[in-house]
Symmetry: C2
Subunit: 211 residues, 2 copies
């Protein structure tokens, strides 16, 4: 059964919630099902980063051409640099039936949801507010302004949580990755993702009634 | 984490899709998690039916008193008899944190959804339109009017499928029960079912920011 197109999945969450590790676990455990979208950016690669793995590293001119030609699903400018999600790769993988994961911030998530209303939005959180606090405060040795900026950022992220579809608690990476996978499997059974199947059944029943 | 109230779940589906067997498998495999709502009816018990197991068998006067006093979540009249879902049992089990399953028809399902917007609606279908056809047509030995009435009913049910949240394919009872269980587990992670948890995190972050 089922319509064969993949699901576009946005994963956001508090910093330190372990999103990157979760994504790696999902891709490792289900390489046939998932594809991870790779962002394009104009910032310089850091040591160890590989073009086409962490990011597509492109020039400002190339980036602005992609914006102008509608080749980005969403993009944002942080400090001096652009970050964005190239459309072609995402579309291609969805067509192939893969569920495509974008790991992006809330502002980008909302833009993607507007452009693709069937996007599945997941928010990753540590198991308790106390644990979140510990992760944000660190060992208490960071400068006060670093802690302040983390807290402000987390409070902003928390305000946006309601906009997500699912809240995923990362207490243990393998368990949490399995939980995310379970949620995504369930989402494939959503009625609005199975319109072709339902239409086929309706038409067959109408035909039978007429016979 | 998580808010502790259970989820109200409505299960509907084509006749012959195996809803009853699926419910039994869910309750057998996860007796701590699920409770099955038992309908009240004014019809006479059939052979082998036990009061409080298949139905609560009550009189017309008792049923109409329950209607008048708002003690039914939904009810309907078929032929000469009333059928309805008593509110008290459902509320009690939800409070206890159990997920309560109602196996009812689409009209009842829509009434429940209106009264309780957070209700989860699942529709059970055979794996293909061809298989549905075989189940509806039987061995071709039934009278034509029986087949006709089944087809009309199935076509009506199919028209309502879009109103459900999930479409569940019953190819194999144990697999399908596991799939339903997975969907329900996922639903517990929906943001709107975890408002208390999210509120707590927001408040904690606001407090930390102010310190």
């Amino acid at each position: 059964m089922g319509d064969s197109r993949g699901i576009l999945i946005v994963v956001s969450g508090f910093s330190g919630a372990g999103k990157g590790t979760l994504m790696k676990a999902l891709l490792k455990n289900y390489p046939e099902q998932y594809a991870l979208s790779i962002s394009a950016t104009t910032r310089q690669p850091r040591e160890g980063e590989v073009d086409g793995r962490e990011y597509f590293f492109i020039t400002k001119e190339e980036f602005e051409k992609m914006i102008a030609e509608g080749e980005l699903i969403e993009y944002a400018r942080y400090v001096e640099n652009y970050y964005g999600t190239p459309r072609a790769y995402v579309e291609q993988k969805l067509e192939e039936g893969k569920d495509v994961i974008l790991e992006i911030e809330i502002q980008g998530a909302m833009k993607v949801k507007t452009a693709f209303p069937e996007t599945l939005l997941m928010f990753v959180t540590p198991p308790t507010a106390g644990e979140l606090k510990r992760r944000l405060m660190g060992r208490g040795t960071e400068p006060e302004d670093v802690i302040d900026s983390r807290l402000r950022r987390a409070a902003e992220e928390a305000d946006g949580m309601d906009q997500y579809d699912y809240l995923v608690v990362n207490d243990n990476v393998e368990n949490c990755a399995e939980e995310m996978h379970g949620i995504i499997q369930g989402e494939h059974r959503r009625c609005f993702r199975n319109m072709e199947f339902m239409e086929r059944i309706k038409q067959d029943l109408q035909r039978l009634k007429g016979e």
